[in-house]
Symmetry: C2
Subunit: 444 residues, 2 copies
């Protein structure tokens, strides 16, 4: 007995069969449409990047535990990009001279991280990245928050399904030093505890804080402040608030787009001020969907020119889980609108010519590849989602006509070959009226 | 002085800035449209694959010299896919039970090969793969040849710009044994010489053939046969022709889609019979654009079920070179249709609300992120490709109106805020009539 190679994809990666791919494509096309409706322009970059660009500023967890690395045949140390932000910062720095800043850019790269596969976590995921480069104005924050509302709205989500929680590391530092009265040396360590606040039990957090040198009184004050949410804003000195883009947003009409929440920190080292995170509100999927922030110094790794950035990355796995949880996944598209079936094998050439004229009329049309009985072929066309079949018989064809059968209404008509495009379109419109299921309408 | 990281992408890989990405996206969308018009369904798979799937059947050149390999943190040996065919064979074998064969599938993966970068060759390229699985019928050959015609037509190429040359390894074997009268043991070696026929001088080919044991008389007969092109078909025994799907195609109406040419061999080991290759006819870019073939045993690596396959991979680099050579590259799309400009900073909220209603009317619309003088902002909008700006001034706004300025016709009108969507659309239509350049029409 021969030994066969395994057919499963590498652990943590995914094959997308046509139905899943159709869902993914439809969701992405809607998101691309929203991004482009706001002037975001698509770019792309390589999977392989010099390893140094991650060592410099990504999270330590990614670099030490999650990076896929390799050395090429020329001895160059490379990594499979685990995220897009270092790449886009590199591209922006390298092309700054020809860009009209600020720029709005987006991409949808595949990113690799060596993680333990589990719900919501895979080793290769697709991630929409949307960023603005070249402006420190709080208008960028508003643009990004509006974009998030538009994107989630564009895929059918209503505002009750998610929360956009925002904070600012500048404000958090003031909360920790001015209000909780911690020493500056503890900022980084305690920020990291705040980041874990919702994921760990209180005792564990208190223990970690104590180990850093935080007193019980300071810890209680911290807990109280975090629980108070936006109330802490008024206690922050106005000189600090004047340095915060987010604080400026919170006094405009755009304040209604977000909830200020000092618990939001985000894991990446490169964020400098604004940070935000979108959460699913469903009790069944109560988790973070995606997030981002402002990174005003990242481009500085590549260039002396100061080019601030703000943006987010939205991964496909959590997004699809979110849409599934709320019943918002689109139906996969049908394979074709029409199948043209020759009754005998030697009518294959005529059938192909009819199919050509149907395609010219904007209809997705196939012809059978193997000779089969008419009844079998009609059943297959039905399974492929076709609503109409065109039957090419010898006598009809010799008389310049073909037969149209509507698989929904069961109506059957003989039509002239010259008018087959219009006739099939009319028949599909009829089928679409009769069926309110998905995938029914012709493609154009 | 600080040291900066380099901004160039890893050698042989590419950054796609928005203008290049817009060209690439437009070309791909047309190709996807053609594929879907024939019932080809899109799928996808991972970048990382177990290395064994290439060791089994890809070309030796790829496995020994061009594969990017790595070992993951769990000790698993992986490769970055150098081509898609082994992946899709794996996916087909693993999901055969739920598919209605034959299936038409396509994808557009990024593939990695360690090559010396030069014109037409990079280390990461994007490749449209189109395949049919599950049928040995020559109708599959016709389907693929028609598809190639439709795809090239769909991106604006006329038939004089390219040639589709086809052959069949079954016919070639007969030519080599029955007509050139070579021993069967020389088949593989001499096929490889035929594959190099157009790339090397005749003396070098004769020398290589001689080294294999081919006599001078046999070599001359081979040269004569190859030079004769399709004429050799009549000399091939009819029993052999009955075993060739391609020979069956050549007696149908579809014969006009291709040129039979015994010089076409293709490098992959997995092709079993039909092989084909598309060549640019321009003297400036006289090279192979892409090719493919029938691989009836590849799925057999994964499963006992016999599932024949036929298809091709079309790389982005040669495709874009081809379009450039023939003046067929689309213009990059404009960034936006309209920019809404507040005259004073405190009119930013009203400007954003006007922009929202323009987007709701299907217009790609942005608002400035930084406060600038009106004149400067109009210049920037013009550079971004906008044909219309909407100016939000204090007095106008308080009276419920805004000003529309058409950047092409220079016409300026005051319109009610309630009708701004229709007014801007009318103004854009006016601009499109005045300009026949690209990127002028609104996006929907």
């Amino acid at each position: 007995m021969p030994e066969y190679l395994p057919t499963t994809p590498y652990r943590g990666t995914r094959d997308f069969l046509p139905p899943e791919m159709s869902v993914r494509t439809q969701v992405y096309e809607r998101l691309y449409g929203v991004l482009e409706s706001r002037g975001f322009q698509r770019y792309d970059g390589p999977v392989l990047e010099p390893i140094e660009i991650y060592e410099a500023k990504s999270s330590r967890e990614i670099v030490e535990q999650q990076l896929y690395t390799l050395t090429d045949r020329g001895g160059r140390r490379l990594a499979l990009r685990p995220e897009m932000t270092p790449s886009v910062a590199r591209i922006i720095a390298g092309n700054a001279g020809k860009l009209q800043f600020p720029v709005r850019w987006y991409s949808n790269p595949n990113c690799h991280r060596y993680e333990r596969p589990q719900r919501g976590r895979v080793r290769e995921h697709w991630q929409i990245n949307a960023d603005i480069f070249g402006s420190e104005s709080p208008s960028c924050e508003i643009e990004i928050f509006e974009l998030i509302h538009d994107m989630l709205g564009g895929i059918g989500a209503t505002p009750d399904m998610w929360r956009l929680r925002v904070s600012d590391r500048v404000l958090l530092s003031s909360i920790l030093t001015d209000i909780v009265e911690l020493d500056e040396s503890l900022l980084r360590g305690v920020s990291s505890i705040v980041d874990r606040w919702e994921k760990y039990p209180r005792e564990k957090l208190a223990e970690d804080a104590g180990a850093l040198g935080v007193t019980d009184k300071q810890f209680d004050r911290l807990a109280e402040t975090l629980a108070g949410g936006a109330a802490v804003l008024d206690e922050i000195p106005s000189a600090v608030r004047e340095n915060s883009q987010l604080a400026k947003v919170l006094v405009t009409d755009a304040a209604g787009l977000v909830e200020f929440d000092p618990m939001i920190v985000r894991g990446f080292d490169y964020y400098t001020s604004t940070v935000f995170e979108v959460f699913d509100t469903s009790p069944e999927n109560n988790r973070s969907l995606f997030g981002g922030g402002r990174y005003d110094n990242l481009v500085g790794l590549y260039s002396a020119q100061k080019i601030p950035g703000i943006g987010f990355g939205m991964g496909d796995v959590t997004l699809i889980d979110f849409l599934g949880t709320h019943g918002l996944l689109p139906e996969p598209l049908a394979e074709v609108d029409v199948v043209v079936i020759p009754v005998e094998a030697d009518l294959a050439d005529p059938a192909r010519s009819v199919a050509r004229s149907l395609r010219a009329a904007g209809l997705r049309t196939s012809t059978p590849l193997e000779p089969r009985k008419l009844g079998k072929e009609i059943t297959r066309a039905d399974k492929a989602g076709a609503r109409v079949v065109v039957i090419v018989g010898r006598e009809d064809w010799d008389g310049g006509s073909v037969t149209i059968r509507n698989l929904v209404t069961k109506q059957q008509d003989q039509v002239s070959v010259d008018s087959v495009g219009a006739a099939v379109r009319a028949s599909l419109d009829q089928a679409a009226e009769d069926v309110t299921g998905a995938g029914g309408a012709p493609s154009s």
